[in-house]
Amino acid sequence: MARTQVKRHGWIGRLFFADLLAGLRLTLGYMFGKTITHHYPDYEKWIPYQRHRGHHFMNTNDLGEVNCVACELCSKICPCDCITVIPFETENGDRRPEVFDIDLARCLYCGLCEDACPADAIKLGQEYEVATTNRATLVVHLEDLTSAPRKAINGGQVLPARLDPEGGLRSVPRSGTETVGQDWWSRIRQGK
């Protein structure tokens, strides 16, 4: 910094501390600029992008059945062996999972199961608050997966939020604020 400044301003700039002044100007700009901190979890919550890989969810078809055909490809491709699938045959001859368990404590959220799935069934959604005080609850079952939050359609913004009133460890967006979030990236100063 200093050297380039000396080159740019020559010895006159050096005499009058052009480099120090440039530094002061920069910090002055930041001092009166916007802060980038998320006031998470009790005032604001970040809604992740569509590409975010969070808590898994299971797609269902129009009849309310899960899309999964229990081919066990996800379980095979999983690098940490955290998916357990046990298939069974329904009355109309479809192959469906009887058990579909994911151990979130082992999962590394790589998304390979999503890529391997031929039936558009297992996906990774927007939920990222999976902290718990009981490790057993980290093994999620089929019904948890079908009810888990989908991929965010309003991702990439900060919403006004508050802590879950039920005393859970979650932050929930305030009701009626789905459209008033701020574009967080507008607060970031872009370098030259």
Partner: protein, 328 residues
């Protein structure tokens, strides 16, 4: 009876100054943290009170209730004395600092200073020089390598920078023909000293930063390389005394910069009382000190000495010479 009545305004002024000075570091810590945070795009303290305004109170309670620990091998008496020695000089300096022209209260004239010394400037420089003893004693008494290194650095730094600091104000004294601070301010009627003494101001400002041990000259307490420097071993209330002293030195410096170079209470808009205008200027300087702190990195030890002896000292001597020729 008359002597008591004469003493009354003095006592009131003393109580006000001591009270304000003891409480002043609380908002200043808040301000410093806010400025640091916003320069780094953080909001800083936000949770205790509105925008974290009560955070300093919480911090103070924490510091006062902490264990006051003295290391086993420390020199216990010096260890206990050092924070007080560091704290007293910045308070004593305020004896000589004037806050404005005399005002009329209930028909009697009240001077806005505890004592209008005719060698006020000399007194201030001398007393603030004593402050370094707190640092030295703290470093020595702690019996800790970090603390000793910090106080050694601080001795060298203080000796190097008091000289250009003393020389840089000679130009101001020459212009005012007096060392009385009220006279110095009065001499700036119409033209502030910053215009005629830019080099003197620069030297005084930089040397003052070094005297206050602020970044970029905070080698005595360099967090990065010395733990916390001379107050590494201090905790609880004794540590808070050091903090108090540090902030008060900054306030003193801001006052001196304003009084010597920025016209003191002169030149304000008509609707503002002179004292308020003075305090506004002082606040601006405090803000500048904090702004500098979170902009610049720390100088290396040899760079510190080079700046002190090879740049600031010749500059201050040159300043005296040039002002002398110009006045002839």
């Amino acid at each position: 009876m008359e002597t008591v009545l004469d003493l009354l305004p003095l006592l009131v002024k003393m109580a006000i100054i001591v009270g304000v000075l003891l409480l002043l570091p609380l908002p200043l810590t808040w301000l410093e943290r806010k400025i640091a945070a916003h320069i780094q795009q953080r909001p800083g303290p936000m949770r205790v009170g509105w925008h974290g305004l009560l955070q300093p109170l919480a911090d103070a309670i924490k510091l006062l209730t902490k264990e006051d620990h003295i290391p086993a091998q420390a020199d216990r008496m010096l260890f206990a004395i050092a924070p007080v020695v560091a704290l007293v000089p910045p308070f004593v300096v305020f004896v000589a600092i004037p806050f404005g022209d005399p005002i009329q209260v209930f028909g009697t004239e009240v001077t806005l200073s505890l004592s209008n010394l005719n060698v006020g400037l000399l007194f201030i420089l001398a007393v603030s020089g004593i402050g370094v003893f707190g640092t030295i004693l703290a470093g020595w008494a702690s019996n800790s390598k970090y603390a000793v290194l910090g106080s050694l650095r601080s001795i060298a730094q203080m000796i190097s920078y008091e000289i250009p600091m003393g020389f840089s104000v000679i130009g101001v004294v020459m212009l005012a023909n007096s060392m009385q601070l009220t006279q110095i301010v009065a001499a700036q009627q119409g033209l502030w000293n910053i215009v005629v003494q830019p080099i003197g101001f620069f030297v005084f400002f930089v040397a003052g930063l070094a005297e206050a041990q602020r970044i970029p000259f905070d080698l005595p307490e360099a967090e990065g390389d010395l733990g916390a420097g001379y107050h590494t071993e201090y905790s609880g209330i004794r540590f808070s005394l050091f903090m108090l002293a540090e902030y008060l030195v900054v306030v003193v410096l801001a006052f001196l910069n304003v009084l010597l170079f920025f016209g003191g209470w002169l030149g304000g808009p008509a609707f503002l009382p002179a004292v308020v205008w003075l305090l506004l200027k002082v606040g601006f300087f405090i803000w500048v000190f904090m702004w500098l702190r979170f902009t610049f990195p720390r100088y290396r030890y040899d760079q510190l000495m080079t700046i002190g002896w090879k740049v600031l000292l010749p500059l201050s001597l040159l300043n005296i010479m040039v002002s002398g020729f110009l006045m002839l």
